[in-house]
Each structure stands twice: as structure tokens, then as C-alpha cells.
């Protein structure tokens, strides 16, 4: 009989429930797992806890291993950052909706969850320099005849998007003719398309690529770029310049010392090969020009969305 584990689990659950209730934040999963970091290269004497908010539902960037522990590109990246700068890493799993509010209520120190830098989000939180670049793509139903984003912008067409994602923002602004289905769950979007209830699903190239492979008979992927690239950043609390500068320095280092190549090798080897074959730009491929213009390009695109989105 295992007497010891039950009360602990109960207490942990209760604590999670309390946290959720107080913050009024929707917690999707309640597994808070401490990173198993060692004090390699710890700069400061006292180790501070670094709480990172992630939605662990976006493999292979933010996900869970078979035992339920956080894993993925972002988890490894933050673990390496924590080791280098003397933090104790703590990953908090929460719904995408709750990520930015978790910074505003100081439940998290930063959020690394494949978040695109947009001006609307920049009004709520501060972002680091971009660490990755992504492009939207379309997962279309095989018999829908969709070959471009314009094909979707027709009366009678239905577009599935994940609520609040950049695909949602793009569709709201640019696909006004179509009916937009906003769903909470990525796999529901894919199901809508593969069953033919929706004609297309807008999401990043990698997710579209993986889901097309999973549904080869019912879906086709449209990879023709129809918007400016999206830049992903790590979000910190407004005014937390100290952490932001540390993260910026680590992102710059990682680009030089092969950290991103290592992460690609570990988590994304197969996808990298496929992207190379298709001639797509890789997530972590930045040239000097991007680093300089990335912010303003994202800002321009987003500002247009902002000004036109208001009357929608």
C-alpha cells in the first residue's frame, strides 16, 4: 500500500487548483516540473528560480515526454540559458490564452512558447530579439481545390484557425469573405480540414507539414508564402530589462556557438531535411539583415493588422 504518494499528489492538485482559482487563469495541465538542471557555469552564488510559461502542446518546440516531463526545443533552450546564467529552471504549463496574463500577474518570469512578436502583444509585454522565424502555410482539404490564400478568401469557403494564433489574426484581416472557424485545439482544426468541414487551416509551415504527412489522403499542403515572415520572441514582464538583456545576450551567443544547430539536430533533424528539400528557410536561419529589420518588419505587418482589425 502506497501511503506516501497519495497525499502529496492531492496536495499538489489542490495547490494547482488554488492557483488557478486565484489567478482566474485556465490551466490546461497541472504538471509543474522543475528542470533537472545542474549548476554548470553558475555565475551568481545564490540561484534564483526562473519560472517560464509554456503551452506544452506544440511539439517539438514545447511538449511533454512520455513520462509527462516538459521537453522540446524551448525547454532545452531555457535549460541551457538557466545553467549559463545561474537560474533554477521551472517550467509552468498553461493554455495559450493564459501565457501573457501569467506575465502580467507575475506568475511567470518569462514566456517561451513559439510566440510571434506583434505590436498588440508588445503593448502587454516586452519581447527579446527574435530567436526564430516562421512562415504561415495552409493545410487544405484534398478535394477543396485550394492552391493559394486567395482561393480561401471566397464566400462559401471555411477557414479553420486556432483562436488567437497569428493564423487567426491573418484570417481576420485578409480572409474577410470566408467563414472563419476559431477552435481552441490544433488537432480539431486538422480534423475539420481532413473531414472537409473546413477548406483550409492556417498555421506555421512545420505544423502543416507534419499534419499533411499524418493525413496524406485527405489533405494537401500549400506552402506558397502569402505574408511576411513571423518572428518568434521570448516575452518578459514589462520593464524587466535585466532578464531581457540576459536573454538577448544568450540568443546572440547561441547563434554563434551552434546552440540552435544542436537543438535542430536533437529535435528537428527530419523536418530540417524536408525543409531543405522544399527550399524553405529554416527556423533559426537569420542573416544580419534580419536581425536589423526583423522587429520593424513584424511591427509593420502587425500595425496594419491592428488598424484595420478594429472595425472588423
Amino acid at each position: 500500500m502506497n501511503l506516501s504518494s497519495t497525499p502529496v499528489t492531492r496536495r499538489a492538485l489542490f495547490a494547482s487548483a488554488l492557483t488557478a482559482a486565484t489567478a482566474a487563469v485556465t490551466l490546461v495541465g497541472c504538471s509543474d516540473t522543475e528542470g533537472a538542471g545542474t549548476a554548470a557555469g553558475s555565475a551568481s552564488a545564490s540561484r534564483r528560480t526562473l519560472t517560464v510559461g509554456m503551452e506544452l502542446a506544440y511539439p517539438p518546440f514545447e511538449t511533454k515526454d512520455d513520462a509527462g516531463n516538459p521537453t522540446g526545443v524551448s525547454v532545452s533552450f531555457m535549460q541551457d540559458f538557466a545553467d549559463a546564467y545561474g537560474y533554477e529552471l521551472k517550467v509552468e504549463n498553461m493554455g495559450f490564452d493564459g501565457l501573457i496574463p501569467s506575465l502580467q500577474t507575475r506568475k511567470a518570469d518569462c514566456v517561451m512558447s513559439s510566440i510571434t512578436i506583434t505590436p498588440e502583444r508588445e503593448e502587454q509585454v516586452d519581447f527579446t530579439d527574435p530567436y526564430a522565424v516562421a512562415q504561415l502555410a495552409i493545410l487544405a482539404n484534398a478535394s477543396s481545390g485550394i492552391e493559394s490564400a486567395d482561393d480561401l478568401n471566397q464566400p462559401g469557403k471555411t477557414v479553420a484557425v486556432k483562436t488567437g494564433s497569428t493564423g487567426d489574426v491573418y484570417a481576420t484581416k485578409n480572409l474577410a469573405q470566408a467563414e472563419i472557424l476559431r477552435l481552441a485545439d490544433e488537432s480539431a482544426c486538422v480534423t475539420e480540414v481532413s473531414q472537409g468541414r473546413a477548406d483550409g487551416f492556417l498555421y506555421d509551415q512545420l505544423t502543416i507539414y507534419r499534419n499533411q504527412k499524418a493525413n496524406p489522403d485527405t489533405t494537401v499542403a500549400v506552402f506558397i508564402p502569402f505574408q511576411d515572415p513571423e518572428y518568434w520572441g521570448i516575452a518578459v514582464q514589462q520593464g524587466d530589462d535585466e532578464l531581457r538583456e540576459e536573454l538577448n545576450a544568450f540568443i546572440a551567443e547561441s547563434r554563434q556557438n551552434g546552440e540552435f544547430d544542436k537543438l535542430t539536430e536533437t529535435y528537428l533533424a527530419e523536418e530540417k531535411a524536408a525543409f531543405d528539400e522544399l527550399g524553405f528557410r529554416w527556423f533559426f536561419d537569420f542573416d544580419e539583415q534580419d536581425a536589423a529589420t526583423g522587429d520593424s518588419a513584424a511591427a509593420d505587418a502587425g500595425e496594419a493588422a491592428n488598424s484595420e482589425g478594429k472595425d472588423a
Partner: protein, 259 residues
């Protein structure tokens, strides 16, 4: 003068007492919430209500429409099932029994996904409103069947014998003995079930039925105002459910006088 916060010996409160105590309790609850907001350092911003008032009103209306349609349809399902559970035809009895157990034993969320994407797709239920009403009715029908079955089994068999003894026909027994008691015992719980339907309809947001919850989630996603939207969301559901609960209580009081 009586202590304004203590009920009389008969357990009753005067209207003035009730009003004073209710105001006190409401003030305490709201005060606790405000204090929590202040301690958490959250500034509430409700500007979005004016900006999105059309969408919010549409969402509220759709929630109401879905709930009313589901209440009607779930009664149509629930009443025969309640009777069927006592049927002497065994397959009918066990079918009704299995239905109630399956529905009451599984989460509504799973039922929504499974019905919409498997049953709905197979049988061509394309309309999301219709699918939502069907799912919610099938779900709620099982609970209504249990409510009605409970009332039926609580009727004393002595009454039926008495009805036969005074020469009532079967129809007369039903009309003058069974139905009046059934109604007075079922109505309060049935009204309460309606309040549950209103709340449960919020889960239909996962299949993009643009009812109140889905509307507020969409607004939250574009304004990042999680607390404001969910606070207004909760308030709007209360606007729907509080009157229903009030009516339920009224039925309960009225029914208890009948005996």
C-alpha cells in the same frame, strides 16, 4: 425590535430582514473579490464591452436559443427513457438504462468531440447549431430521465390501489393522481436542470458554435483581456441562471403547499 440578522422562531425572515442580510452577503462577496483583484495587482478594464456589444449580444442570444431548444428536446428524450427504464420489454429497459449510464458516466467534452466528428460526420450533421442542440439534448436527456424516474418511483403504490378502490379508470388515475404529483415533484428539479443546460452549453465553444463563451474567448484572444472578459462572461451567465434558479425555488415552495 427583532435582530435584523436573525430569523424568527418559525425560521422565516421578514422582507426587510432578507433584504438587509442579502445586501450584506453580496457586499462581502464583492468586497472579497475586489480585495483579491487589488492584492493580485490586476486592473480591470471593461472597455471591450462597448466595443464588442453586438457580438456579445449575439452570443448571449445564441446561448439562450441553444438552451431553450435543448430543454425542449431533452424532455422529449428524457420522459420516454424514464418510462422505458421500467419497461417489461427487457431490451427496451436495458437500452434506456445503458443510455443513462453512458451519458452520465462520461464527460460532456468527450461526448461533444465524439458526436460531432464521428457521428455527425457519418450522418451528415453539418450545421453546428443543430449539432450543438442535439448533443446537449442527448446529454441533458439522461439527467431528466433520472429526475422523472425518481419522481415516478416516489409515488406511493397505496395511492394507486386507493384510486382503483374508488373506481378510477387508468386514464383517471393518471390524470388526477399521478400527473399532479409528478409535476409538483419534477418541476423544481427540471427548472434547475435548465440552469445546468445554460452553463453546459458553454462547452459547445470547442466545436466553434459562436455562443457566449466562444464569443468571449475570441474577444479575449484579440484584446488579451482575460480577466475582464471572463468576469463579464460569468456575470452574463448569472443573468441567465439566477432568474431560472429563482423560478425553480418558487416551484419548490408552491409544490410543497399542495400536500
Amino acid at each position: 425590535m427583532r435582530n435584523p440578522f436573525v430569523a424568527g422562531r418559525d425560521g422565516r425572515a421578514t422582507p426587510a430582514q432578507a433584504l438587509a442580510s442579502y445586501a450584506l452577503v453580496c457586499a462581502a462577496v464583492i468586497g472579497f473579490f475586489w480585495l483579491s483583484l487589488a492584492m493580485a495587482g490586476i486592473a480591470l478594464n471593461l472597455d471591450f464591452v462597448a466595443q464588442f456589444r453586438t457580438r456579445i449580444a449575439d452570443g448571449l442570444l445564441l446561448t439562450l436559443e441553444i438552451s431553450v431548444a435543448s430543454l425542449v428536446l431533452s424532455c422529449v428524450i428524457g420522459l420516454p427513457v424514464a418510462v422505458g427504464q421500467g419497461s417489461r420489454i427487457l431490451p427496451v429497459r436495458y437500452l434506456c438504462d445503458l443510455y443513462v449510464k453512458l451519458i452520465r458516466g462520461t464527460p460532456l467534452l468527450a461526448q461533444i468531440y465524439l458526436f460531432f466528428y464521428i457521428v455527425g460526420t457519418a450522418w451528415g450533421v453539418e450545421n453546428r447549431f443543430a449539432a450543438g442542440v442535439i448533443i446537449l439534448s442527448v446529454f441533458s436527456g439522461a439527467y431528466i430521465a433520472e429526475i422523472v424516474r425518481g419522481s415516478l418511483s416516489s409515488l406511493d403504490s397505496g395511492q394507486l390501489e386507493a384510486a382503483r378502490a374508488v373506481g378510477f379508470t387508468r386514464a383517471q388515475t393518471l390524470r388526477y393522481v399521478v400527473v399532479p404529483q409528478l409535476v409538483s415533484r419534477t418541476l423544481p428539479a427540471l427548472t434547475g436542470q435548465f440552469a445546468s443546460i445554460v452553463k453546459d452549453s458553454s462547452l459547445l465553444s470547442v466545436i466553434a458554435v459562436i455562443e457566449l463563451t466562444q464569443t468571449m474567448q475570441e474577444i479575449s484572444a484579440s484584446t488579451f483581456n482575460l480577466f475582464g472578459t471572463y468576469l463579464v462572461l460569468a456575470a452574463l451567465y448569472l443573468v441567465l441562471t439566477l432568474p431560472i434558479m429563482f423560478v425553480s425555488r418558487w416551484f419548490e415552495r408552491r409544490g410543497s403547499y399542495a400536500h
